[in-house]
Every structure is written in C-alpha cells, then in structure tokens.
Amino acid sequence: MHPVTTVHYLALSAGLLLIGTIGVLTRRNIVVILMSIELILNAVNINLIAFSHAWHNVSGQVFAIFVITDAVAEAAVGLGILIALFRNKETVQADEIDLLKW
C-alpha cells in the first residue's frame, strides 16, 4: 500500500479544478455554475493544506480558513444577485443573460 503523498493531494486538487472549470464554462444553470466555483475554491484549499502539511507550516491552513470564509461570502452575494436577476428576467439560464455587450 502506497503512502498518500503530496502528489496525490495535488492530483486530487487538479482534478477538482478541472471539473470545476469545465462546470463553470459549460453548465447553463447559474446555481450549478456557483457550485462549480465552490469546487474550484475547494481545489485551492486542498492545495494549501497539502503544502502546509508537507512543509510543516501552519500559514497554509490559516489561508484555507480565509478561503472558506470568502467562499461563503461569495456564495451569499452570488445567490443574492441571482435572486435579483431572477426577479427581473425570470430565468437562471446563463446563456439567456447576454445584455452586457455592445
């Protein structure tokens, strides 16, 4: 049985990042996009904690807590915007919201 090393964590993190990114770029529902963003942020958290464990430096873990806090705030603001948007447009499909152009 191989021990779990930093590389494994990094691979998991990369996988999460990939899934999250593809989710953001491809899914139409904004709720799902927000969830994908959460995946990306958690990929970052895993990175931070992996390196903190590897190098015995606790700063990475503190940062991870900051990122979690940030993700919560972001989710709150993002969902708030989404509700406001839904009230106006009655849709949560990202490809139907295309006013921000020339």
Binding site: V24, L25, T26, A94, D95, D98, K101
Partner: protein
C-alpha cells in the same frame, strides 16, 4: 415818462389782453347752448349776420362789456405808448433806438460758408427806427379803430371772447414783427401772425369753407416761409448775423465775412422775396387771400388789408440794402408786383361778392407796393402801405357795415340804392373809393401817383412797368366805382325780406369809419409830390422821415417837370375815366353790362373764375404733386420698399433652404459617414462580444492555457 425805455411794453399789452381773454373769456362771456350755436341751416355767426343769425342770438351779459373795454383798450394803450416812443425817437439825433432785452438763443458755434467758425446768437431785442415806427403806428392805430368797430360788429356773435383774444394775439405778434431787431425774431412775429390769420379765417370753423380757407392760407404761407427761412440761413452763412443793423452795415460797406458775389446776393434776395410773396399775397402765392374773406369782416380789414399782408412789403423794405446789391432780384420784384397788380385787378372787375372785390383789390394794391420796392422807391412803397392801410381798412369795414345792414348778404347783385338807408357808411365808403381810385387830394392819389412816377422815372423803372401801373389804376377806379354803384346807387335789387331790416350800423361801428375816412383824406398830405412846390417842406414829412432808412439813393431824374405833370394829369384822367365809365354802366345804363357780358362770355367766364388759377393749382399741386405724388409714393412703397422687404425675406428663405440642404447632406452627412465607417470597421470586434459571461470566461481560460503552454513549452 421815457417811452423809448418802455418800448418792450408795447407788445405786452395786447398779449396780456389775449391771455386774459383766452384763459378767462369763457367765464366773462358765457356761451349759449351749443345746439343753438351750430343749429343746422343757420348761417353760423355769419359775418355779422343778425338776420339769418337771429336764432343764434344771445344776450350779452354785463361781463361782456368788460371785453369791449379791455381788448380795444389794450391796443389803445399800445398806441399811446407807440406814439410816445415815436415822438421821443424824433427828438433823438440819430433816430435809431435799439434795445436788447435778453439773450434768446444762446451763443453757439457754427461753420460759415467758407468753413470759418462763427458764433450764432440771437437776442430778444427791439429796434425802433423811422421804418418800424411807421408800421408801429399803423398797426396800433388802425388796429385800435378796427377793434372798436369789431365790438359792434361781433356783438351778436358767439365766441366774442375768442375773437377778441385772437385779435389781441394778432396785434401782439404783429408788433413783435415790426419791432424785432433781427430776422429771427421777425420770423417769430411772422409765423405768429400767420397762426392768428389761420385762427381768424377759420373763426367760423364749423363752416367747411371757412375751415378750408384757413388751412389754405396756412399752407400757402408755409410755402413762402420756406423761402424766407432759406434766405435767412443763407444770410447767416454768408454774413454770420441776422441782426438788422449788422446786416445792413455789412451790406452797405461791402465787407462780407465770407467772399460772396452777386449771385449769392441775388439768391438771398429772391428767397426773401419768395417769403414775402406768401405773406403779402403776390403771384404765385396770392391764392389764399381772396379765400381769407371767409373770416369775419374786421379780420379782413385788420389782417388781410391793413397790417399782416403788408409784412412782406415791410420785410423787403427792411432788406433794402440787400436788394440794392441784387438788381436782378429787384427786377423780379417789380415785375411780379406789376403783374400781380394788373392780374388781380382784372379779376376784381367782374366779381359780385363785395368782399371778394376788395380782396382782389388788396392783392392788386400790394402789387403796387412791390412794384415800388422793385424800382427802388422804398419810401413810396411804405407810403402806399400807410395810405392803403387807411382806405382799405375803411373800405373793408364799410363793406362789413353794408353786410351788417343787409343781414349777411354779400352779393352785390342783390344790393343797390342803399345810399339813403345807410348814409354814414355810404359817405365814408365814398371817401375810401375816391381815395383808392386816385383822385387828387385824397391819400391814394399821392402814394399811387408817386409809385407810377417812380416806375416811370427810376433807373430801374421802365415804360412797360408804368403802363401796367396806369392800366391797373384805370381798372382800380372802375371796379371800385362798380362796387359803389352796384351797392349804393341805381335801382334797388334788394330782396324784399331783407329790405325791411336795412339799418345803419351803431355808432361804435360808424365812428371808426369816420376816423379812417379822415385818415384817408389827410394821410396823403404827408407826402405830396415834389412838383407841388406851393406846399412847404412840412407836406413832405413822410419821405424826409424815412430818408435815413433808405438814403434815397440814385441820381435825381433828369425828366423835365412837364413830363411829370403830364403823367400826373394822365393818371388822374384814367381814374376819372374809370369812375365815369363805372357810373355810366352801372347806374345810368345797367342794361349795357349784361350785353357786354353776353358778347364776351368766354372772357367773363375766365375772369369770373379767377383765371382758373385755383383749379390749375389744384390740378398741378394739390392733385398733381400732392395726391399724384402721394400715390406715386404709395406705388414706390408697395413696389420698391415692400419689394425690398419681401425680396430680402425670399432671399433669406432661399439661403436658409440652401443652408439646410448643406447641413443635412454635407455636415450631418460627414458626421454620419464617420459613425458609419467606425461601425463598419468595428463590426468584427463586435462579433466576439456576445454578452454571455461564460464565453468570456472561456476566453480567459483559453488565454491562460495559451500563456501557460507557451511558458511550459519554452
């Protein structure tokens, strides 16, 4: 009492009377209700027409007597002061008294004809010299008598106070005219008497003919005044002054501030004379005077016979030094005077209105005066003015008395045989007629004969002028005695309803007639012919009195005394001939005039219609120049002025259209073309901006991966 120092008071008395009358007259002399005053069909006020006017009668209040005393009284006081001043003037060694009251027009600089700067200042000043003293005494003396007469004549008239107010105002302006010491102040009086003349001619202003006559007089006079003003301005620009003494001194010495030749003097003199033709009713501006007879008869006597119309004669005599320098102008004066004399006399021959005959007679006699002025016999002109004032005022007042007696009838065809009914009027008018006809011993003879003699013998005179004068004298005698015969002698043609009322005028009217008749007899004895050596120098007081004014220049005539005697006898003979002919035709054989009339119908028609001068003037000036010019100006207005405005409007609109086209297609076009080309060029860039957030995110990721790949691969 030093009357010379009080000379400024002389015009103020009548002015005070006028102001008092015009301000308080309504209260002094209450008017009857106005519906009576202008009752239709009633001859309004009607030249002292008590009969036709009986409806409009009102009984004068006690206060009206105050007017009767104040107004003639003011003129009488003026006369007394004038007489005193003239008496004291005669005592002075130099017989010129000039006094400056105050500065009227303050000094101001102006450029004279040669460009030099001069100062123009006019003082309110009076000049009493032999010339103005004669005028002064005539105006106040005859004026007083006419005022007295008018208190009787106008007694039954409405507007009694208004009449006397105007009359006193007239005397004031006339006194300003004759006492002024410069042309500008003279012009004030000149215009003032014109105004009063207008007011008094149009006294019965609710009668259209009277109102029209007033306007005509005013307008015709303005035409002449233009000449006067231009002459005055020319004088100012050449001589730099309008004060009589300065002007005369400059002209006599020949030292002008500005180099001025003979032509300038002629122009100046002719312009002045043109002014005189307006005021003194000479051809071509005489037309207003006959119409002026619409005014009450005392007005005709005072203004249009004795005083105002002689203002032109006075003005030319006052400018004698100027006329001496302009022989051509003198020839014009003499020619116009002679022509006017005979022209007006021909019209007077056939008129039937008693006042109209006298009006044309006045024009004719004024022509005589200008004839005398033109041949350089200035004192004779003034002498004729003096005698004429007596007998013409007398004749007018006499005719007024006749009209009064006839209840407003002025047509001589409805008179006749009035001699017994109105004896005083008859005898005084008889005296006046003899005087104007030129029978020796009465005033008219002396002055008229002197004019004829001067026209013959003066260096500027000629046989032609004398002949015209002589023929006019014959006509004068004829038309005056035609008037006398038609009015007083022969068969009565009085309308029966009038005949019952014929009555002699009251004493207040007959006494002035008697006084004027006395003047008509005696006035001439101040200037008996030189030939009549039987009489002493005292009988030539008039020429000697005026001698310093005119310096009776020119060589003594070299004609023998026999020539003068024969001319004198000839003129008396034609006068006597005219009188006898008139007597024969109109008293003895009244059928003959009708036959002559039938024979020479066209000539009579022309004369009766006054040579159609009024019609010609109407055609040429009133309709031609004024109305025609008016419509021409209207056309000009419509076509040229309006056309210019409309054209400008059209042009603006056209240019605006053009400008709009330019704006739309060129300016806006450039802007829109710019924006269009920018849009066109930016179109590819627009394609990648879809507005979809995910697309943008994809770009970010692709870009990131690209850079990442680039750095890894390197």
């Amino acid at each position: 009492m030093n009357f010379l120092d009080l000379i400024w008071l002389i015009p103020l008395f009548p002015l005070a009377g006028a102001v008092l009358m015009l301000l308080t007259g309504k209260w002094l002399d209450p008017q009857p209700p106005s519906d009576v005053a202008v009752a239709p069909g009633v001859e309004p006020g009607g030249a002292g027409a008590p009969l036709a006017n009986s409806l409009a009668h009102h009984h004068p209040g006690a206060l009206q007597n105050l007017i009767r005393i104040i107004c003639p009284g003011m003129v009488l006081v003026s006369f007394v002061f004038s007489a005193g001043a003239v008496w004291q003037l005669a005592q002075l060694p130099k017989r010129v008294y000039e006094v400056r009251q105050f500065t009227w027009i303050a000094a101001m600089p102006f450029h004279m004809a040669n460009g030099h700067l001069a100062t123009f200042q006019v003082n309110w000043g009076f000049l009493l010299d032999p010339l103005s003293s004669v005028m002064l005494l005539v105006v106040t003396g005859v004026g007083f008598l006419i005022h007295v007469y008018a208190t009787g004549y106008m007694a039954h008239d409405n507007g009694f106070y208004r009449f006397f107010g105007y009359l006193n105002l007239f005397v004031f302006f006339m006194l300003m005219l004759v006492l002024a010491n410069n042309y500008t102040l003279l012009f004030v009086g000149w215009e003032g008497v014109g105004l009063c003349s207008y007011l008094l001619i149009g006294f019965y202003f609710h009668k259209k003919s009277a109102a029209d006559a007033g306007k005509k007089a005013f307008i015709v006079n303005r035409v002449g005044d233009t000449g006067f003003v231009l002459g005055m301005l020319l004088m100012l620009s050449v001589l730099g002054t309008v004060r009589f003494t300065d002007v005369n001194a400059a002209l006599r010495s020949g030292q002008f501030p500005v180099e001025a030749g003979y032509g300038v003097m002629t122009a100046m003199a002719l312009l002045m004379f043109f002014g005189a033709t307006g005021k003194s009713a000479q051809v071509p501006l005489y037309v207003w005077l006959p119409d002026a007879m619409e005014g009450p008869t005392p007005v005709s006597a005072l203004i249009h016979a004795a005083t105002m119309v002689t203002a032109g004669v006075y003005m030319v005599a006052r400018s004698s030094a100027l006329f001496q320098l302009a022989p051509v102008a003198c020839a014009w004066v003499a020619g116009i005077g002679a022509f006017t004399a005979i022209f007006a006399a021909t019209i007077a021959l056939v008129q039937n209105d008693i006042k109209r005959v006298l009006a044309y007679s006045t024009v004719s006699q004024l022509g005589y005066m200008f004839l005398a002025l033109g041949v350089g016999a200035y004192w004779v002109a003034i002498f004729h003015l003096f005698t004429h004032a007596f007998f013409k005022a007398l004749l007018f007042l006499g005719s007024g008395s006749v009209i009064h007696a006839m209840g407003g009838e002025q047509d001589m065809r409805y008179m006749g045989a009035l001699r017994k009914k109105i004896p005083v009027t008859h005898w005084t008018m008889w005296v006046g007629s003899v005087a104007i006809a030129g029978i020796p011993g009465l005033a008219g003879f002396f002055s008229k004969d002197e004019i004829l003699w001067q026209a013959f013998s003066s260096p500027k005179g000629s046989m032609a002028l004398w002949t015209v004068g002589l023929v006019t004298a014959a006509m004068t005698a004829f038309y005056m005695w035609r008037l006398m015969n038609m009015t007083f002698y022969g068969q009565s043609r009085v309308k029966p309803e009038v005949a019952a009322h014929v009555h002699e005028s009251p004493a207040v009217m007959t006494w002035p007639l008697i006084a004027l008749a006395a003047g008509s007899v005696l006035g001439g004895w101040l200037g008996v012919p030189k030939l009549w050596t039987v009489f002493g120098e005292g009988f030539r007081a008039f020429p000697r009195w005026l001698e310093p004014m005119f310096a009776l220049s020119g060589p003594e005539s070299e004609h023998p005394a026999s020539t003068e005697w024969s001319l004198m006898i000839l003129s008396v003979a034609v006068a006597a001939g005219g009188i006898s002919l008139a007597y024969y035709l109109y008293s003895k054989r009244p059928d003959i005039p009708d036959r002559i009339l039938a024979r020479f119908k066209p000539l009579h028609t022309v004369l009766y219609n006054k040579w159609y001068v009024d019609e010609i003037y109407d055609f040429l000036f009133v309709n031609g120049l004024c109305k025609g010019g008016g419509s021409a100006m209207g056309e000009f207005d419509r076509k040229v002025v309006d056309g210019g405005v409309n054209g400008a409007g059209w042009l603006t609109r056209a240019s605006a259209t053009l400008s709009m086209w330019w704006d739309t297609w060129i300016v806006d076009g450039a802007v829109r073309f710019t924006s269009f080309s920018v849009k066109l060029l930016s179109y590819p860039a627009c394609l990648i901006e879809s507005g979809r957030v995910q697309t943008y995110a994809l770009f970010v990721v692709v870009g990131l991966l690209t850079f990442l790949g680039y750095y890894i691969a390197r």
